[in-house]
């Protein structure tokens, strides 16, 4: 056969384009996510005002030219604060979920691989966390350790651990004695290498979806903590604490103080939730809902 006679098959659309094309909502979610990431990276550079600059004479001004989102109780520009807060919120969400994922997968994998007492201890620990009312546990941790961003991240990470532990454990357990693992063992790989190189990639598909959902939940969690006074410290800009502070101005008619951060927060969490669905369609078509 010569090269000339081999007809090139028509190019099929990539899997990604197929899934996204079929579901416009998912496409929308990906675009939105991209926008937020850009905002998080470039936020402080494009904010029109210094988010910490107060101007008491201009306190609680409604949205108008120059202050498109209005000003808050000490005269700070809300648009600038919302834009800059993207970095803080994304940072919290990313850090919390990354921590949760890393530790949870590690623990769960070990539990699934080694079995025995490791499994028992890890499973019991995970059950204990799950038996807690999660938000109260987060509250307790932040109250006990102090309300810094680090502790908020830690508390959120802890309450999300059980899921990752469970999934990792299940996936590793099933494949513990599979052929390829045996082969790896026979060729002299250490346990750590087996876990990391061979078993870990199997955990990714089911957890990817949850990662996205958890990021949305992390932002909501931080907002809830701010409402009871355990959120980030003033004068930090963070969507949740802006909503919590703005909430007291709803009845007196200064709706913009809570609405704009609230809308952006909702959009972000919304985006993460839809993204989770999209990722699931993408990665594991069997589980498409």
């Amino acid at each position: 056969m010569t090269a000339a006679t081999i007809a090139t098959a028509p190019k099929r659309p990539s899997h990604f384009r197929y899934v996204v094309g079929e579901n416009p909502v998912t496409a929308f979610a990906f675009v939105l996510f991209g926008l937020f990431v850009l905002l998080a990276i470039f936020g402080p550079a494009i904010a029109p005002y210094d988010p910490l600059y107060t101007d008491s004479a201009a306190a609680l001004r409604p949205p108008m030219k120059g202050h498109w989102f209005g000003t808050d109780s000490v005269g700070r520009d809300i648009l600038s604060r919302v834009v800059v807060a993207a970095r803080m919120d994304f940072g919290i969400a990313l850090a919390a979920v990354a921590l949760s994922f890393a530790i949870g997968s590690a623990l769960g994998s070990c539990a699934g691989y080694f079995g025995g007492w490791t499994d028992r201890i890890v499973s019991r620990g995970s059950d204990t966390i799950m038996a807690f009312p999660l938000f109260v546990l987060a509250m307790g941790i932040v109250a006990a350790l102090g309300n810094t961003v680090g502790n908020i991240v830690l508390a959120t990470a802890i309450i999300n651990l059980p899921f990752y532990i469970r999934v990792a454990r299940a996936e590793v357990n099933v494949r513990r004695n599979a052929g390829f693992v045996e082969a790896a063992r026979l060729s002299g790989n250490t346990n750590a290498r087996i876990l990391l190189r061979h078993l870990f990639p199997n955990i990714l598909p089911p957890t990817m979806v949850q990662v996205s959902l958890n990021m949305g939940w992390a932002i909501l969690n931080a907002a809830g903590l701010s409402f009871i006074g355990l959120g980030v410290r003033p004068p930090q800009a963070e969507w949740g604490i802006m909503v919590a502070e703005g909430a007291q101005y709803i009845v007196s008619g200064e709706w913009w103080v809570a609405l704009f951060p609230g809308a952006v927060l909702m959009l972000a969490v919304f985006c993460f939730n839809l993204l989770g669905d999209g990722l699931r369609d993408l990665i594991d078509p069997r589980r498409r809902t």
């Binding site: 910490l52 600059y53 107060t54 008491s56 004479a57 306190a59 109780s73 000490v74 005269g75 109250a143 309300n147 006074g229 355990l230 410290r233 003033p234 004068p235 909430a247 007291q248 101005y249 709803i250 009845v251 007196s252």
Partner: protein
């Protein structure tokens, strides 16, 4: 057919009955509503016993209306038209009359013979003695409050006969008589209480925490902690004119925005704690809500600096801070003008012995920078600003503005908001360098305030850890000084010293704001800042 007719007739009868019941209940409801007051606050009492450990401020309110005291204060009308208590006038409550001995070292009270407790038992002098003994022996806040008026030992309290009670004085203290009209020396039904006392709990503290044993104008009908407390009028109350309101429902509504909404919609009659902004706006609105404002006596919001923590041990640094505070900005955006300004006087030398009064500091960044340079901190330093989460509505904007201002001096601050229990403990530890706090004293005397806040005895309220021997001498002398001119001079001296040394920078004297429906009258301002339902009338 006949059955159908009877059914129709009985049906009609039922409808008629229902309709008239509804109408009647509607009418009853209307009556009920003018005799019932609904008041919503952020939180309610955590105990029915003011002597109990950790009793909070609303618990003082319970003592005030459910229990009597020997005397109460009279009234005066303030220039603004609001009726206030008059701390110079003592009037009878449980005691019909009293006579101070010629040597001025004791007083004899004649008790009302018609007074009864809520369970019908007559009130006698032994109940008064039991209650006073309890107050000075039980420890904690009540004992310390009694001590402020030199009421310290049970031996001072003597039952002469069933309706005569004598108090001997340990020393001549002008605060002794007024101290017997504050909420602490409430008169308890000792027989009822003793029934629930045990060897380990001789003062029945356990039982009295959730049960009321008083003889005041109102009985506690029900109390659900964290939810509501309901009072019903004690119709046999003889210690004063019978109140008009028959029932008071005090509900906990933690959300301030909701309290405002409830007021504006007319679903509650009164509310005490709301953000200053809401009070400012409600007083301007032409709706059905009015706001009564009274400057709180002997109280100030201040910025305190811990003189034991460098660099705040340097008076020039403290003065620099005093010149750097953004007073006007804070007055507008944190307090919304609900207060009396305590800065900007012409000099630090007081012209009167009034307290609180303004000092000479004002926002002057140039002066502040010069002082920092003199102190050797031209480049500033780092520190934290701390405040109580519970008072965050005012403290937080203050903190943010102060942070910004101090940054201009090179002072980099982190803001530290501290929740409830931790705040009390932190104040006690005295390790916070810079705090925003508020303090007020019940007895309206400057030396009383200074005794707790500036005196070297270093009470917990002396949050700055300030100690100055010369000032201590002046404060101690002022407490027992009879001569008016000397007294005023002493006061002016220690006030000036406090301004010059400025361990704490006074900011404003806060006002007590109460929002209520326009059809409510009879509000009286009291130093304990709790509602007195006995004078309130709903039209």
């Amino acid at each position: 057919m006949i059955q159908h007719a009877t059914f129709m007739r009985s049906g009609r009868a039922i409808v008629f009955l229902l309709a008239s019941l509804l109408l009647a209940s509607g009418a009853l409801a209307q009556d009920r509503r003018t005799e019932t007051l609904i008041i919503a606050n952020e939180f309610g009492p955590n105990s029915l016993d003011i002597h109990g450990v950790g009793a909070n401020r609303p618990a003082y309110g319970v003592a005030w209306v459910a229990y009597d005291r020997l005397m109460t204060y009279g009234r005066k009308t303030l220039p603004s038209g609001v009726v206030s208590y008059d701390y110079n006038k003592l009037e009878p409550e449980l005691a019909e009359s009293w006579e101070i001995a010629k040597d001025g070292m004791s007083v004899v009270f004649k008790l009302r013979k018609s007074a009864k407790f809520h369970d019908g038992t007559p009130v006698t002098a032994k109940d008064v003695k039991w209650s006073y003994d309890r107050a000075v022996s039980i420890g904690g806040f009540p004992t310390f409050q009694m001590k402020a008026g030199s009421l310290e030992k049970p031996e001072q309290f003597v039952v002469v006969d069933d309706y005569t009670f004598r108090v001997t004085f340990l020393r001549k203290d002008k605060l002794t008589m007024p101290d017997m009209a504050v909420p602490v020396p409430s008169i308890y039904n000792s027989e009822l209480a003793k029934k629930h006392a045990t060897a380990a709990d001789p003062w029945a503290a356990e039982w009295l925490k959730s049960n009321e044993a008083g003889g005041g104008a109102y009985k506690v009908e029900s109390w659900k902690p964290g939810q509501e407390i309901v009072y019903t009028r004690f119709d046999d109350w003889k210690s004063g004119p019978l109140p008009k309101l028959k029932r008071i429902i005090q509900r906990d509504v933690p959300s301030a925005g909701n309290r405002r909404a409830l007021l504006v919609k007319g679903d509650i009659d009164m509310s005490y704690e709301m953000p200053p902004k809401d009070f400012a706006e409600l007083s301007q609105e032409k709706g059905n809500v009015k706001v009564v404002s009274v400057p709180v006596e002997n109280a100030i919001w201040y910025i305190g600096m811990n003189v034991t923590k460098p660099p705040f041990d340097n008076v020039k640094v403290r003065q620099a801070v005093a010149y750097a505070l953004p007073y006007d900005k804070m007055f507008d955006t944190a307090i919304y003008g609900r207060g009396v300004k305590l800065w900007g006087a012409s000099s630090n030398a007081p012209k009167t012995a009034a307290w609180p009064q303004p000092d000479a500091y004002a926002t002057d960044m140039a002066k502040a920078k010069a002082l920092m340079k003199e102190a050797g901190y031209a480049n500033g330093f780092e520190t934290t600003i701390s405040y109580d989460l519970g008072s965050g509505t005012v403290s937080e904007p203050m903190a943010v503005l102060i942070q910004e201002s101090l940054a201009q001096l090179g002072i980099k601050t982190t803001i530290n908001k501290i929740p409830g229990a931790n705040w009390r403990a932190a104040l006690l530890k005295k390790d916070m360098p810079l705090i925003i706090n508020r303090f007020g004293g019940w007895l309206n005397y400057p030396e009383y305030f200074f005794f707790w806040c500036y005196h070297g005895q270093n009470a917990v309220f002396n949050t700055m850890g300030y100690r100055n021997a010369a000032m201590d001498k002046q404060i101690d002398a002022a407490r027992f000084e009879d001569n008016k001119a000397n007294y005023e001079q002493l006061v002016k001296n220690f006030v000036q010293k406090s301004f010059d040394d400025v361990p704490r920078v006074p900011f404003v004297q806060p006002t007590q704001d109460v929002a209520m429906q326009k059809n409510i009258s009879g509000f009286v301002y009291w130093f304990h800042l709790q509602p007195d339902f006995r004078q309130i009338v709903k039209m």
